[in-house]
């Protein structure tokens, strides 16, 4: 039975963020999540903070946590590769409980990410493994409970947890 990633409606993801207690979304735009970004920007109870790089976005999340907020780091898989040093310096050495949601843009929905032809998709998991960052695939609406669980795990372990969004949001 092949894996088939399902698109998740933006409204469902948005509700899962609210249920997880997220207050701020710090983002570098991601094609994969553009409907979710639009929904977040329009929602009165979530603050959308845009950064020019994923390194910046990671540091903003850390500062928000110092100030008592619960942020989400929302990026694309390419951004994950771009912010490795801040993820290491703040997430691992700094023990910040940062939860990141990265879109797997271009993923073949019929394959597991590890079998994808594209290096950006295929290597995201191994990169997170190398950084000792737990990660979970959100491949459809049934995986939405991973969001709240990720915050609990990040705070319990004192470090980042990554969620990889398998299909483009709708």
């Amino acid at each position: 039975m092949p894996t088939v990633a399902q698109s998740i409606p933006a409204a469902s993801l948005l509700q899962a963020l609210l249920d997880a207690g997220v207050q701020d979304v710090v983002a570098v735009p991601d094609t994969h999540q553009r409907t979710l970004i639009s929904a977040i920007e329009e929602h009165a109870d979530l603050r959308f903070i845009q950064a020019t790089t994923e390194d910046e976005a990671t540091a903003i999340c850390a500062g928000l946590i110092v100030g008592g907020r619960r942020p989400l780091l929302q990026i694309q898989h390419a951004g994950l590769y771009a912010c490795v040093n801040n993820l290491r310096g703040l997430g691992i050495d700094g023990a910040f409980p940062i939860v990141l949601l990265a879109g797997l843009l271009g993923r073949d929905p019929a394959k597991a990410p590890g079998d994808d032809f594209g290096s950006m998709v295929r290597l995201a998991g191994p990169l997170l493994d190398a950084l000792e960052i737990p990660h979970y695939l959100i491949d459809g609406p049934a995986d939405l409970p991973h969001l709240a669980a990720a915050y609990a795990e990040a705070e319990a372990r004192g470090g980042p947890v990554a969620l990889l969004l398998g299909a483009e949001t709708c």
């Binding site: 020019t52 976005a57 500062g63 946590i65 050495d93």
Partner: protein
């Protein structure tokens, strides 16, 4: 127009003294070579360290400023550090935190790695770039007395404000410490919970 000849620039320590005299309840994020001297001058449970994620001081501070708009936030940044994430000027200007003071120590070199010059030295204006990015205020000083005389006015304004200070090149070459016998808890991990807890008591 500031005179940026290295021999006529203010010292970093003199600039920090000016800031320390005004320090009350601000959260202060300090980067790299300013970190130690700042902690000596202004010990506080509201000092945040930028160690091990070079270039991140300004956006680390931005996060605190956005979380706590009731608390003034200062960042003591370096020129080489800011250049590593120069886009942060646009990010900060866009977020427009009124409680944000961005001090850039412009000594023209990467001091910790052996005093190599920063790219564009002699032409770069961090105040100019901040102004064009959309900071509410920006100023440049090479003279510590002029900085001291104008700082209160700058602090009275809504930010984000960037102050570029031409400072004399220092000699803070970074020599790694001997490897520890046991795995230590990194300084950043020890530091930020202290500041978080201090802010909770407000």
């Amino acid at each position: 127009m500031p005179d940026d000849a290295p021999e006529r620039r203010m010292t970093r320590d003199a600039a920090l003294d000016v800031l320390a005299r005004r320090r009350t309840d601000q959260v202060v994020v300090s980067a790299m070579t300013a970190l130690g001297p700042w902690r000596q001058r202004s010990p506080s449970d509201r000092n945040l360290f930028n160690l091990g994620f070079m270039g991140g001081a300004s956006t680390y501070a931005l996060g605190v400023a956005l979380a706590r708009p009731d608390v003034p936030v200062w960042v003591i940044d370096g020129d080489g550090s800011l250049l590593m994430q120069l886009g942060s000027l646009a990010t900060i200007a866009h977020a427009a935190p009124a409680n944000f003071l961005h001090v850039v120590m412009h000594n023209g070199i990467y001091e910790t790695s052996g005093a190599q010059p920063i790219p564009g030295e002699g032409r770069l204006s961090f105040a100019g770039m901040a102004r064009e990015a959309g900071y509410a205020h920006a100023a440049r000083f090479d003279d510590v007395e002029a900085f001291d005389a104008e700082l209160d006015d700058l602090l009275s304004r809504d930010g984000p404000t960037l102050v570029e200070l031409f400072t004399a090149p220092g000699d803070s070459f970074y020599a790694p410490a001997p490897p520890p016998a046991e795995r230590p808890t990194p300084a950043v991990a020890r530091n930020w919970p202290v500041v978080r807890d201090a802010l909770r008591t407000d």
